[in-house]
């Protein structure tokens, strides 16, 4: 698959870890990101930013798999959507507090990832993508029929509840800080995973799997672990989204959602730590502010996709990093 081996020609500066595994440029970018998250809701509509953050987390989770293990999953909507359904259902029907229902959403996403991943990682390349897509479609048809998902109507009027029993999330600003907090935690978690010894093995699998095997790593176990982590984080992102909007629907388990997250990661930059956030920001902003053009949004998205593939092979963040000769 399109492993971001394109980096190989670049002579990076400042490669040494500067702070908590971040390079100097990454620290600057991270501080900027935090600043944006902090001042964003005072300038922009908070619900829009929350949506952006949910998708950014989803894209980060997806990027963990494609960017660092080189596995193109074309069925990530299944974990995202199922996480949303589980969070929505447990929050609405069982009255669970939001933190628990989101964790449950993530857990179910991870469990689903364990089952599907266990089968899918046995194949590579296009076969892997097709198997994940097939399973995601099975999950979709399950959701169309299953009683608890509400079929076409989805699960509606999901209460946001009180975080830890104290913070009233029905106020948009409170919900925003929770969403931003979950995103930052997820983001740092992925960063930690990528820079851990485990992450090094993942990258070695991406670069040369037979060689990693020959060094004594059970690559299947590593791939499965990465798959489960990615699916679990996607489930958390889906759960968060269903709380933000108070609704969990078939849109989030449909295959187009799997395509959208591929698009976000590609536009942002595969295998870059900030790429998925930027990609999600670009795509969600377009969907939001170009909504009046109706069907043209998808056409514009398609054009941008083509442009990215032709002109920005590394994605926006990848190109910027390449230009500045830093790893972002």
């Amino acid at each position: 698959m399109a492993a971001p081996g394109g980096f190989s020609g670049t002579d990076f500066r400042n490669e040494e870890a500067y702070f908590l595994g971040f390079t100097q440029a990454q620290v600057i970018a991270f501080v900027l990101l935090i600043a944006l998250l902090a001042i964003g809701p005072f300038f922009l509509y908070p619900v829009f930013l929350m949506k952006l953050l949910c998708f950014a987390l989803f894209a980060c989770a997806f990027n963990l798999l494609i960017g660092y293990v080189g596995l193109l999953s074309f069925g990530h909507a299944a974990y995202f959507g199922m996480g949303g359904y589980i969070t929505g259902y447990t929050a609405k029907m069982w009255g669970l507090p939001p933190e628990l229902s989101i964790l449950l959403g993530g857990a179910v996403g991870a469990a689903l990832g364990l089952v599907i991943g266990w089968i899918a990682i046995r194949r590579q390349g296009i076969y892997f993508a097709m198997i994940t897509l097939a399973f995601a479609q099975m999950v979709y048809f399950f959701c169309v029929q299953a009683r608890f998902t509400g079929g076409e109507d989805g699960i509606q009027s999901i209460p946001r509840g009180h975080f830890l029993g104290i913070v009233d999330l029905s106020r948009d600003m409170n919900m925003y800080w929770l969403t931003a907090g979950v995103f930052v935690v997820g983001f740092l978690l992925i960063h930690r995973i990528v820079h851990s010894p485990f992450g090094m093995v993942l990258k070695s699998i991406r670069e040369n799997e037979p060689r990693a095997t020959s060094l004594g790593y059970r690559t299947d176990d590593y791939k499965l672990m990465a798959f489960v982590l990615s699916a679990g984080l996607a489930g958390v992102a889906g759960g968060l989204k269903s709380l933000v909007f108070g609704i969990a629907t078939l849109t989030d388990v449909f295959w187009t959602m799997s395509g959208e997250v591929v698009l976000m990661s590609l536009v942002g930059g595969l295998g870059t730590i900030f790429g998925p956030f930027v990609g999600a920001a670009v795509i969600i902003t377009m969907q939001n502010y170009l909504a009046e053009f109706g069907a043209w949004v998808t056409v514009i998205q398609g054009v941008i996709f083509v442009l990215c593939v032709l002109a920005f092979r590394r994605g926006l963040v990848g190109e910027i990093g390449n230009w500045l000769r830093v790893r972002l």
Binding site: V47, Q156, N288
Partner: protein, 412 residues
């Protein structure tokens, strides 16, 4: 090293600036302007049912109501792409940014999603385009009115009146999901209670079926007099086209579409649609009043379409809402969606499109429903002359009784 840092900072700052500046800041609502948001399908399969013409008819109603009543009316519109999450998102944003009333919202799932947002924000919501009877049933809300049709009324008219008109044995072709099951169940109930028989039914996988020939043959083999299509949109269109190819209607079997609009007949053409039976609560050629209204607004509509049940409903709903706003004052209306809706329920509905109607406690608008048969090409005198009236169900019988809706507002 410092050179690179500076570049990194500059690039990031430039990025941040564009990110922050491009989208609009939160808009402030003007105190003296009533803002109506028409949300419907502007690009997908239901575009011709509400769509741009639905927006235009809301604008016509706003203009006719006039700006000389001490407040201005502004109409905005958006495309929900038939996705409930998109719809809920737009509704939230609109209500937060000064829209006072949301109108239309076809597609049941989206209609229900907007319903809960309107209630949460205490704003007004007039649903015209969505079919689900849950809007005035288990999910009814003091902020919501459901204007021109619902699944119960369609089932009662098409199922019940059809049996009385002679179609007393039925076979259903049903989309295998909750909506299809509900349509089949409701219609079967009316068929049986009117003395008809249900010979059988077949469920097809939704949403992955486009070849209905096997199901149509099975339906024909049952020798039922009526084949009921418990589905919607493209599936119904496909069923009708394929039934026409099989020549099913020419052999005397009636086709009943349980959810179908005159815009679909227009798209299908009379050659395919002839003989089809369907229910609507508005037809432009019903009487002098509807003819006058339709001829007056037609020149302003896209493709010179005649107003249909949903677009005319947008006109009627807007007009009635504005009457209530004028009656209670803009400030009071903006303060509470529930109060505005209560005022709408107290005022009698009267307009050119639907005549007289009443808005019931649970939000259900009560008007008569009509069972139509699609004309043959020979009977039709020209474009939009498509339907002939078979049966009329009066307003007090057409809708689900208040006691059977399980609307929580009613028990209290």
């Amino acid at each position: 090293m410092s050179r690179i840092q500076r570049r990194a900072v500059l690039a990031a700052a430039a990025g941040a600036a564009t990110f922050g500046a491009a989208p609009a800041r939160r808009a402030r609502a003007q105190a003296n302007t009533i803002k109506i948001g028409v949300m419907n399908d502007q690009s997908g399969p239901y575009r011709d049912i509400g769509g741009p013409n639905g927006v235009i008819l809301a604008q016509i109603a706003a203009q006719e109501f006039g700006n000389n009543r001490g407040f201005n009316v502004e109409v905005v519109s958006a495309d929900h792409q038939n996705r409930p999450d998109v719809g809920a998102n737009i509704a939230r944003q609109w209500y937060d940014q000064g829209v006072d009333m949301i109108l239309d919202v076809p597609t049941s799932s989206v209609g229900l999603a907007v319903n809960s947002v309107a209630r949460e924000k205490n704003k007004v919501y007039i649903n015209v385009g969505a079919a689900t009877a849950d809007l005035t049933g288990p999910q009814c809300s003091p902020n919501t009115a459901h204007w021109v049709y619902d699944t119960y009324m369609l089932a009662k008219s098409t199922g019940g009146a059809m049996v009385r008109a002679g179609g007393d044995s039925w076979f259903f072709i049903t989309a295998d999901y909750a909506f299809g099951h509900a349509l089949e169940r409701d219609t079967s109930t009316f068929v049986r209670s009117n003395g008809g028989r249900v010979m059988g039914s077949v469920r097809y996988p939704f949403p992955a079926t486009s070849d209905f020939s096997a199901f149509l043959v099975q339906a024909q083999a049952s020798r039922a007099k009526v084949i009921g299509f418990a589905n919607a949109g493209a599936d119904t269109i496909n069923c009708i086209k394929q039934a026409a190819e099989f020549g099913i209607t020419r052999r005397g079997t009636k086709l009943a579409a349980l959810l179908m609009f005159i815009a679909d007949v227009h798209a299908l053409g009379l050659e395919s649609a002839q003989g089809l039976v369907m229910t609507e609560s508005f037809y432009w050629d019903l009487d002098d009043r509807t003819r006058a209204f339709s001829r007056r607004v037609q020149p302003r509509l896209n493709n010179r379409a005649m107003p249909n049940m949903v677009t005319a409903g947008n006109y009627s709903g807007t007009l009635h809402y504005l009457k209530a706003v004028a009656d209670m004052g803009v400030a009071a209306s903006k303060a509470s969606g529930i109060e505005t809706m209560n005022r709408m329920k107290r005022l009698p509905v009267e307009d050119e499109a639907f005549g007289r109607g009443t808005l019931r406690e649970d939000g259900r608008m009560l008007i008569p429903s009509y069972l139509f048969e699609v004309k043959t090409p020979a009977e039709s005198r020209g474009p939009w002359d498509y339907l002939k009236l078979l049966q009329t169900t009066p307003a007090d019988e057409a809708w689900r009784p208040l006691s059977e809706g399980n609307c929580p507002l009613i028990r209290s």
